[in-house]
């Protein structure tokens, strides 16, 4: 499985191309799985479609507690896309709990505002990285390449 970033001619858009075009590509050693944790249906839909298109097996839940429950029941995901503000259990709390459980998955936080203070506080809960949502194609490719390299 190859995650490539190749720029097309107009507007510098990145095309999602699973073939190896020789640019910044890595081959995944195994099939990756991801969990999208977000109370916003539209964002879940977008992130799920994006990851599925990049060849990642994806599941979605609408709050932090459901995410923690899944891991507790023995499910495992290589990547968690964790929204910050959610009802029942928010991103920071869910992240803390997952780390306390010893979960070493890559957890990428997403916030709706690009506030340094908010992102830093969220990072402090145990994230590997933090982005503003929704994630772009380029963001996701960067995340998956990092995951691949770990």
């Amino acid at each position: 499985m190859v995650f490539g970033a190749s720029s097309s001619s107009s507007k510098g858009m990145t095309s999602i191309d699973k073939r190896n075009d020789g640019n910044n590509n890595f081959v995944a050693e195994r099939n990756l799985s991801a969990l999208i944790v977000d109370d916003d249906l539209i964002v879940r839909r977008i992130h799920t479609t994006l990851l599925t298109k990049l060849g990642v097996k994806t599941q979605g839940v609408e709050n932090g507690k459901k995410a923690v429950d899944l891991f507790q029941s023995g499910d495992f995901f290589d990547l968690v896309i964790m929204d910050m503000e959610m009802p029942v259990m928010d991103g920071p709390e869910a992240t803390k709990q997952l780390r306390a459980m010893g979960i070493g998955s890559m957890i990428v936080g997403v916030t709706s505002r690009n506030l340094e203070s908010e992102k830093q506080a969220f990072m402090g809960a145990g994230l590997n990285d933090c982005y503003v949502k929704p994630l772009t194609v380029d963001d996701m490719i960067a995340i998956l390449n990092k995951l691949n390299n770990n």
Partner: protein, 151 residues
């Protein structure tokens, strides 16, 4: 110039104008990139979700702002959701009003909130109209392409 070329030109022009006038931003382009043969109606589906969500939230906002004593936290929560979904599809102008709206909520400014509600309704109906027109153009183009005999 045949009708397919004409329609293509119309579509490009119309889409470009939506971006130039700030109705849509790059996030909309991101959605278009996610559409493919395995997901041929992705953009329309996500935009439809946005329409449903927005209409529900605007009604909730009407109700919330109609109360004797305003619950600003409740209003803010709805605006936060509306901001989220509008930013997800790239509806820039709606998103911008939501940002101002949230500031008024934080300041507990009733007048400001009422004005923003009017404005956000206005921007929403504008972008809804524009997107529906865009989708109709796309359908016309598809239909025109489909009726051309293969060589």
């Amino acid at each position: 110039m045949d009708s397919v070329t004409q329609l293509q030109g119309q579509l490009v022009d119309y889409t470009t104008s939506l971006f130039n006038e700030g109705y849509l931003n790059d996030q909309y382009t991101q959605l278009q990139q996610l559409q493919d043969e395995s997901n041929p109606d992705f953009v329309v589906e996500v935009v439809s979700l946005f329409f449903e969500d927005s209409e529900r939230l605007l009604n909730e906002l009407d109700r919330a702002l109609d109360q004797q004593s305003l619950d600003f936290r409740r209003v803010d929560s709805h605006v936060h959701q509306l901001k989220g979904s509008s930013s997800s599809i790239g509806a820039q102008r709606v998103q911008n009003v939501c940002i101002v709206f949230r500031n008024f909520c934080e300041a507990q400014n009733v007048e400001g909130c009422l004005q923003c509600l009017q404005q956000v309704r206005h921007e929403y109906s504008l972008v809804k109209n524009k997107l529906e027109t865009l989708f109709k153009l796309e359908q016309k183009l598809l239909a025109a392409r489909g009726s051309i005999p293969t060589q």
